[in-house]
C-alpha cells in the first residue's frame, strides 16, 4: 500500500465553484426549513447573491492567476490535478455565471402569468386531477428550481474545468441531472413538459453511457484518466491505437450530444419546446458554453497530439450540424423549436471554430486563436439566446405562451419594442454586421480558414445563408404579416425579465460594435493548462 498523500485543495482558486455548490446546498436547506411564503424571496435572493459573489470571486481569481510553469497558459491545477483553474476555465466560469444570473431572473419572473412563476405548482400531481387543481388554486410553485439550477451551474463550471476524464464525467452528470428535472416542471402544457424531460433524460443518459465507455477505453489506452498523461501516451504512441480511436469516438458522442450536434441533435427541439421557457433559455445558453469548454479542453489538451484522427470527424459533424440545423429550422412552425434547430446550426458554427489552430506560437500577431474565437462566439451566442428566449416568454395568449410562429404575425405593430428586440436577436443569430453574432462568425470562420479548413468554411457560409432565411422569415411574420384573429399580446414583464432582455440586447449590440475588449479578455485568458 502506497503512503497516503493528502491532496492539496486550493480553496482560493476554487472559491467560485465552492460558493455555487454551497449556495445550492443551502437552497435545499431553505427549501426544507423556511415556511412556504418566505421561500420564494429567500431562494431568489440566495441564488442571486451566490452567483454574484461567485462572479466576483472569478474576477478576483482571474486577477491573481499567474503563468503556469513558464508556458503560454495561466492558472493552476487544483485538487490533485483534477480541476484546471486556468484562463479559459475562468472565462467560461464568468460567462456561465453571468448567464445564470440572467437565468435566475427569468426563473423568478412572476408577472407574466398572473402572479405565478413558469413552474408547476406541484410537479408530482397528475395533470388534470384534483390534486393539480388544488395546487393551482393555492398558487403554489416549486421553489426547488433555484437549488436545482445552482447545481446545474455548479456542473457547468466543473465540466469545462475538469482536467481528467472522471471529473469531466462527474461534471457532465451534475450539469445534466438537474436540467432533466427542470425540463419537466412547466406550469402549462405539463404533458409536453414531462415528455420533454423523459426524452432528454433517456437520450442524455444514453449519451453519457457512451461518454463513460469512451473514457474507459481511453483509460485502457493510456493507463490514466489525467489529460496530461493521456496526451503523453498519445505522443509516445503507447498502447493500442484501436482503443484510442474508439475511445475518442465514444467520448465525442457524449460531448457532441450535450452541444446538440448532428447526428446527436434529436433531443434539442423536443426539449427546447417542452421545457419551461426560462429553463430553455438558461439551458440553451449555459449548456452550450460549458460543453464547448469541455470539448475544447478534451480535444486540445488530451488529444491534441492526435488531431489528425479527430479533425475529419469534427469536420463532418460541423458541416452536418450547420446544414441539418438550418434546413430543419426552416420547416418549423413553433418558435421554440425553430430556435432549437437554430442552436443546432450554431453548434456547427462553433465547431467550425474548434477546428482552428489553438497554439498562439503558430499565429502571427493580430490573429486570434481558436480558443479565443470560440470563447467569443459562446459569449455572443449565450447572451443572444437567453435574451431571445426571454422575449419568447413575453408573447402570450389565453393559453400561456404563444409559440406558434404564425400567431406572432403583427407583433411589430402590437408591441414595436418587443418585436424590435427580438428581431435584433434574430439578426444577431443570423450574423448580420453590427451585432455580436457577426463578429463571432467572423472570428470562427477566420480561425478555421487559417487552419486550412476551407471546405467547412464554405459549407458554413452556405449554411449561414439558409439560416438567414429562417430568421428573416420570423422577422417578416412579425412586421409584415397580418395578424391572425386577435393577434398576440405581449405581457408586461417585471424588472427581472426586462433586465435580462436588456442586458442580452446590450451585450449583443456592444459586442457587435466594440468586440475588442472581450476578444482581448479571451486572449488574456491564454491557453489551457496542458
Amino acid at each position: 500500500m502506497t503512503e497516503f498523500v493528502k491532496p492539496s485543495i486550493d480553496y482560493f482558486e476554487l472559491w467560485p465553484l465552492l460558493v455555487v455548490f454551497g449556495v445550492a446546498c443551502l437552497g435545499v436547506v431553505v427549501e426544507a426549513f423556511a415556511p412556504r411564503r418566505l421561500r420564494y424571496v429567500a431562494q431568489v435572493g440566495l441564488a442571486l447573491t451566490g452567483l454574484v459573489v461567485a462572479l466576483v470571486g472569478v474576477v478576483l481569481v482571474a486577477r491573481d492567476v499567474t503563468t503556469y510553469e513558464d508556458g503560454a497558459a495561466r492558472g493552476i491545477l487544483a485538487v490533485g490535478g483534477t480541476i484546471a483553474v486556468d484562463g479559459p476555465s475562468l472565462f467560461i466560469w464568468g460567462l456561465v455565471l453571468a448567464l445564470a444570473i440572467g437565468g435566475v431572473l427569468l426563473f423568478a419572473e412572476r408577472h407574466l402569468d398572473g402572479g405565478v412563476s413558469a413552474f408547476a405548482g406541484q410537479a408530482a400531481a397528475v395533470p388534470g386531477t384534483d390534486a393539480e387543481t388544488a395546487a393551482l388554486v393555492a398558487n403554489r410553485e416549486h421553489t426547488e428550481v433555484y437549488p436545482l439550477m445552482m447545481f446545474a451551474v455548479f456542473g457547468m463550471m466543473l465540466f469545462p474545468a475538469a482536467n481528467d476524464l472522471l471529473t469531466m464525467f462527474v461534471g457532465l452528470e451534475v450539469l445534466s441531472l438537474p436540467l432533466y428535472l427542470l425540463s419537466g416542471l412547466a406550469r402549462r402544457r405539463r404533458l409536453l413538459s414531462q415528455e420533454a424531460a423523459l426524452k432528454y433524460f433517456l437520450l442524455g443518459a444514453f449519451s453519457s453511457g457512451f461518454f463513460l465507455y469512451g473514457a474507459a477505453l481511453l483509460y485502457g489506452y493510456a493507463g490514466s484518466l489525467d489529460f496530461a498523461a493521456i496526451n503523453e501516451a498519445v505522443r509516445n504512441d503507447v498502447g493500442s491505437p484501436a482503443l484510442l480511436l474508439i475511445g475518442t469516438g465514444l467520448l465525442s458522442v457524449g460531448l457532441l450530444f450535450k452541444v446538440g450536434a448532428v447526428p446527436f441533435q434529436a433531443w434539442t427541439p423536443d426539449v427546447y419546446q417542452g421545457a419551461p421557457t426560462p429553463v430553455t433559455a438558461f439551458m440553451a445558453a449555459g449548456t452550450k458554453v460549458a460543453a464547448f469548454g469541455a470539448i475544447m479542453r478534451l480535444f486540445y489538451v488530451a488529444l491534441g497530439a492526435d488531431r489528425w484522427s479527430w479533425q475529419p470527424m469534427l469536420w463532418i459533424v460541423a458541416i452536418l450540424s450547420m446544414f441539418v440545423g438550418a434546413a430543419l429550422a426552416i420547416t418549423q412552425s413553433d418558435i421554440k423549436r425553430l430556435l432549437a434547430y437554430s442552436s443546432v446550426a450554431h453548434t456547427g458554427f462553433i465547431l467550425t471554430g474548434v477546428l482552428g489552430l489553438q497554439a498562439s506560437d503558430q499565429l502571427a500577431i493580430g490573429e486570434i486563436t481558436s480558443l479565443q474565437a470560440v470563447l467569443f462566439y459562446l459569449t455572443t451566442y449565450g447572451f443572444a439566446t437567453i435574451g431571445a428566449f426571454a422575449v419568447v416568454s413575453l408573447v402570450r395568449d389565453a393559453g400561456g405562451e404563444t409559440t406558434a410562429i404564425d400567431r406572432w404575425a403583427g407583433l411589430g405593430k402590437e408591441s414595436p419594442v418587443v418585436a424590435a428586440v427580438f428581431a435584433f436577436f434574430l439578426l444577431a443569430m443570423a450574423g448580420i454586421p453590427l451585432t455580436s453574432g457577426f463578429v463571432g462568425k467572423l472570428a470562427v470562420f477566420s480561425v478555421a480558414l487559417a487552419a486550412g479548413a476551407w471546405p467547412v468554411v464554405v459549407a458554413a457560409v452556405i449554411a449561414s445563408i439558409i439560416a438567414a432565411f429562417l430568421y428573416i422569415r420570423v422577422i417578416k411574420v412579425m412586421y409584415f404579416d397580418e395578424p391572425v384573429g386577435d393577434g398576440p399580446s405581449v405581457a408586461y414583464p417585471s424588472v427581472l425579465t426586462a433586465t435580462t432582455i436588456a442586458v442580452g440586447a446590450a451585450v449583443t449590440l456592444v459586442l457587435g460594435i466594440v468586440p475588442g475588449p472581450v476578444l482581448d479578455l479571451a486572449a488574456v485568458a491564454g491557453e489551457f493548462i496542458r
Binding site: 412556504r36 390534486a131 388544488a134 393551482l136 388554486v137 403554489r140
Partner: protein, 452 residues
C-alpha cells in the same frame, strides 16, 4: 494496526496475527467437505431453530409446544418438512410461472452463500490439513455478505410480484421497502466497526477484537445493528410483510409445498446469518468470552471456538424468539419512521463521533473530555433539530398537509389496487352513504368553484 486498538483495557485473548494468505490454499476436497458441512449445519440449525422457537414461545405463553416427534419433539420440524413435500404444488393461474418458480430458489441460495465468509473458528487440523474453520475469506468479506444478502431480497420481491395476487404483491413490496430501509441503518452501523478494525475481512475483524469486543466500545453501533437485523429478517415486531391480519401470508400467500418450505428455510437461515454477523462483528466471533481465556488456556484452540461461536449465536436466536414472544407488531409508519428518522441520523452522528475520537486518539494531543462532551451536545442538537422542526411545522399547519387531507378520496389514488366500486356508489340499498363519500363531493365541488 489492530495492535493499537484501545490499549486501555488489558485483556487476555491474545490471538495470532491474522493473514488472508491462509485462505485459498485448501485442496479441493477440503473445500467440498467444508461446503457440505456448512450446508448441513445450516439445515440442521434451521430445523433446530424452528423447534426452539416453538418451544420457547410456547413456554412464554404457558403452553407445552411440540413434543410428539422425537425427544422433546425435536423432530417436529423434520416431520413438517416431509409433510410439506407431500402437499400439492400449486402454481396460480395468474402467476408469472417462471419467476414464480425461480423466486424461492433466489431467496434460499444467497442465504446459504452468505455463510461462506463467516469465521467459525481459528486454524485447525482438518483431517490432516491445517485450515481455518471458515470456508473462505476476502478483503471485502463483509461487503460480500451484504451484497449476497441483498440478492435474497429479490427472491421475496419477485415471489410477491409473480404470484399475481394483491396480497402477495403488497407483501413483497413491503418487505423489500422494509429490508432496504433497514439495510441502510445496518450498513451504517458497520462503518464504525471497519473504522476500528481497519479491514472488512471477517477473520481480521475477529482478530481485531482480541482486546475488546466491538459490541462494548461501539455500543450504539451494536444496538443499531441489532435493531436493524430484526427488521432485515422480517421478524416480530417488524414482521409487517407477513402480517397475517392485513396481508394473509404476505409475499408467500400463494406458495405451497416445498416452495413454501424454501422461503421458510431462507428466513430461518437469515436469522442465523444475521446473528452470526452480529457475533462476528460485535461479540468477538468465535473467540472465547474474556475471562475464560485466563482460566483456560486452550479455550481458543482447536475446535472449541465452535462452542463459543454457536453459543453466541443462540443468544441472538433466543433474543429473536423472546422479541416475538413478548412484543406486538409495529405499525408500518412507526416502523419506517424508526428506521429512517432515528436509526439513520443516529448512525451518521455516531460515525462522525467515532471517527473524531479515533483521530484524537491517533493524533493524541487534544483533550478528550471536552471532545466527548462536544460530540454529545452536537448529537443531541442534530436529533433535536429534526424533531423541533417537525413540531413547529405541524403547529403552523403547512398548507401542504392541510391540502392533502382535503383531497377527495380516490380509491386508486396511491395506486393501491382496490376492487372497482359498484356502479352507483360504494353502498347500495338502505344503508346511508359513508362519511368519506359526502366529504369528497363537497370538497370537489368547492374546489371546482374556486378554480372557475
Amino acid at each position: 494496526m489492530n495492535g493499537t486498538v484501545m490499549s486501555i483495557l488489558p485483556l487476555a485473548a491474545d490471538l495470532p496475527e491474522p493473514d488472508l494468505a491462509a485462505f485459498g490454499q485448501d485442496p479441493w476436497w477440503v473445500i467440498v467437505l467444508k461446503a457440505v458441512l456448512i450446508f448441513l449445519i445450516l439445515v440442521l440449525l434451521t430445523l433446530f431453530n424452528i423447534w426452539f422457537e416453538r418451544r420457547v414461545v410456547a413456554r412464554m405463553q404457558h403452553r407445552v409446544g411440540p413434543n410428539r416427534h422425537g425427544p422433546f419433539g425435536l423432530l417436529q420440524s423434520l416431520a413438517d418438512g416431509v409433510k410439506l413435500a407431500l402437499k400439492e404444488d400449486i402454481v396460480p393461474k395468474a402467476a408469472d410461472k417462471v419467476v414464480f418458480v425461480l423466486a424461492p430458489v433466489i431467496a434460499v441460495v444467497p442465504a446459504f452463500v452468505t455463510w461462506s465468509v463467516i469465521p467459525l473458528g481459528p486454524e485447525v487440523n482438518f483431517f490432516g490439513v491445517m485450515t481455518p474453520l471458515q470456508l473462505t475469506d476476502m478483503p471485502v468479506a463483509v461487503l460480500f455478505m451484504l451484497a449476497i444478502a441483498s440478492i435474497g431480497i429479490y427472491g421475496i420481491v419477485l415471489g410477491g410480484w409473480s404470484s399475481g395476487s394483491t396480497y402477495s404483491l403488497l407483501g413483497g413490496l413491503r418487505s423489500s421497502a422494509q429490508m432496504i430501509s433497514y439495510e441502510v441503518a445496518m450498513g451504517l452501523a458497520l462503518v464504525a466497526v471497519f473504522l476500528y478494525a481497519g479491514s472488512m475481512s471477517t477473520s481480521e475483524i475477529v482478530y481485531a477484537q482480541d482486546k475488546l469486543w466491538f459490541g462494548l466500545i461501539l455500543m450504539p453501533s451494536f444496538v443499531i445493528y441489532v435493531i436493524s437485523m430484526v427488521g432485515e429478517t422480517n421478524r416480530a415486531p417488524f414482521d409487517l410483510p407477513e402480517a397475517e391480519g392485513e396481508l394473509v401470508g404476505g409475499f408467500h400467500t400463494e406458495y405451497s409445498s416445498l416452495k413454501f418450505a424454501l422461503f421458510f428455510l431462507a428466513e430461518y437461515i437469515n436469522l442465523a446469518t444475521v446473528s452470526a454477523i452480529a457475533t462476528t462483528l460485535f461479540l468477538g466471533g468465535w473467540a472465547a468470552p474474556w475471562g475464560i481465556e485466563n482460566v483456560w488456556e486452550g479455550a481458543n484452540g482447536g475446535y472449541w471456538p465452535l462452542l463459543w461461536f454457536f453459543g453466541k449465536i443462540f443468544i441472538f436466536i433466543f433474543l429473536f424468539v423472546w422479541l416475538r414472544g413478548s412484543l406486538p407488531r409495529m405499525r408500518y409508519d412507526q416502523f419506517m419512521a424508526l428506521g429512517w428518522k432515528v436509526l439513520i441520523p443516529v448512525s451518521l452522528a455516531w460515525i462522525v463521533a467515532v471517527a473524531t475520537i479515533r483521530v484524537i486518539s491517533l493524533e493524541g494531543n487534544i483533550n478528550r473530555t471536552y471532545l466527548v462532551a462536544a460530540i454529545a451536545v452536537l448529537l443531541v442538537m442534530t436529533v433535536a433539530l429534526m424533531f423541533v422542526g417537525e413540531g413547529k411545522d405541524k403547529g403552523q399547519g403547512d398548507a401542504e398537509d392541510v391540502r392533502a387531507d382535503d383531497e377527495p378520496h380516490d380509491a386508486f389514488a396511491g395506486g393501491f389496487p382496490v376492487p372497482p366500486m359498484p356502479v352507483g356508489g360504494a353502498v347500495r340499498g338502505a344503508a346511508a352513504p359513508m362519511t368519506f363519500a359526502t366529504r369528497r363531493t363537497t370538497v370537489t365541488a368547492s374546489a371546482e368553484e374556486n378554480h372557475e
